[in-house]
Symmetry: C2
Subunit: 203 residues, 2 copies
Amino acid sequence: MASRERTTDVAVDKRRQILDAAVRVFARQGFHSTRVSDIADEAGVAYGLVYHYFRSKDQMLNELFSERWSLLLATIEETDGDTPPRQRLAAVAGFIVDSYRHDPELMKVIIVEVTRAANSFGRTHLPEIRNAYELIAEIVAEGQAQGVFRDDIDPNFASLSFYGAIEQLLSGWIFDLIPSGSQDFDRAADLVVETICGGLEPR
Amino acid sequence: MASRERTTDVAVDKRRQILDAAVRVFARQGFHSTRVSDIADEAGVAYGLVYHYFRSKDQMLNELFSERWSLLLATIEETDGDTPPRQRLAAVAGFIVDSYRHDPELMKVIIVEVTRAANSFGRTHLPEIRNAYELIAEIVAEGQAQGVFRDDIDPNFASLSFYGAIEQLLSGWIFDLIPSGSQDFDRAADLVVETICGGLEPR
DNA sequence: TTCCCGATTGACTGGTCAGTCAGCCAGGTA
DNA sequence: TACCTGGCTGACTGACCAGTCAATCGGGAA
């Protein structure tokens, strides 16, 4: 039994090893110009082994995305309903920014190849992505019900603006449009929330 | 001479005819799963003729993008420096929304296949795209200098948030995440500006 | 009428990969 | 020792498609 477990563990490790290699190669070359042989090389593994663990190249990206996106959804859902809406939005923005800080390559792949790739994987995962929008819209609606957000802006609309701003910010980091030092990360999440909630105009 | 002109005109028409067909097919199937033969069929033209007018499939998309994006850049630059910054932002948002209202297929292609396609055409056109961000940032900076925008938010950051919000809104229309009736179009541009400038919180 | 030339045609080629598969190897079991 | 099983290997194949090119067409000029 112990031996069987060890065998399984090794197998799990190899699987993970391939998945991690895939993230690196996808981040470097993009999904489309990544050949499966590139992933195998990066993982230090034979071509065929990739297909021992994964049904297809697509499945690898799907798995990478869903793994992390489900954490995002969980984070949004977990924020307590008693917490002030603004703080809940800050938690969402914070999670996304921290995800990028912690593993920029993975987030780059998720954003570039899935979230923003409306004609390929974005379409496949539209329900999951839409789910996030809806949860954010609920937070906004709650804020309106409490009277801390103005109610002349549609919650779905506000949700798209909020998410769009964050995603564009990450894109800015990913493509070096804006500096990405660690203090930038620290301020970023609050700044998005401040921009969306407080507005550009002084009070 | 007149005959020569007519010949040229016909050629221009055929070229346009192919380009227009390309927009329709790209919008319907996405750039990647569009075969050149699909474009030829849609245009009612022989396969080889496409290559008589265009060097490659890529060139068609590049041309479609640059044609419209240069109009956007011109619009941003044209807004008068004396106009209130908020109104200048409204003009930018208005142009983008009107472009979508006027030719949703073209805008879908531009956004989905270029602007959001960071690993393919987005990369190629990054300078043009970045140019738009910078021009928007200048408007924000001008607003800060005039004291009508708060100056504790980096203009480049505000620019990304603003553009990100608009693009996400168009994406919402494109993928039916939010309703797209004509009164939605009318309000949309102002609503984005109101959200970014005024903020979600009541004053 | 003949010539010319650019517009037009579509069959064909070359290159690229994703995914397959026949078999190898190591180490556990009888 | 002989056998077995499942991780592991990598050469190979079939499908796909962008771009080429040799040939045809049509209409104006001489």
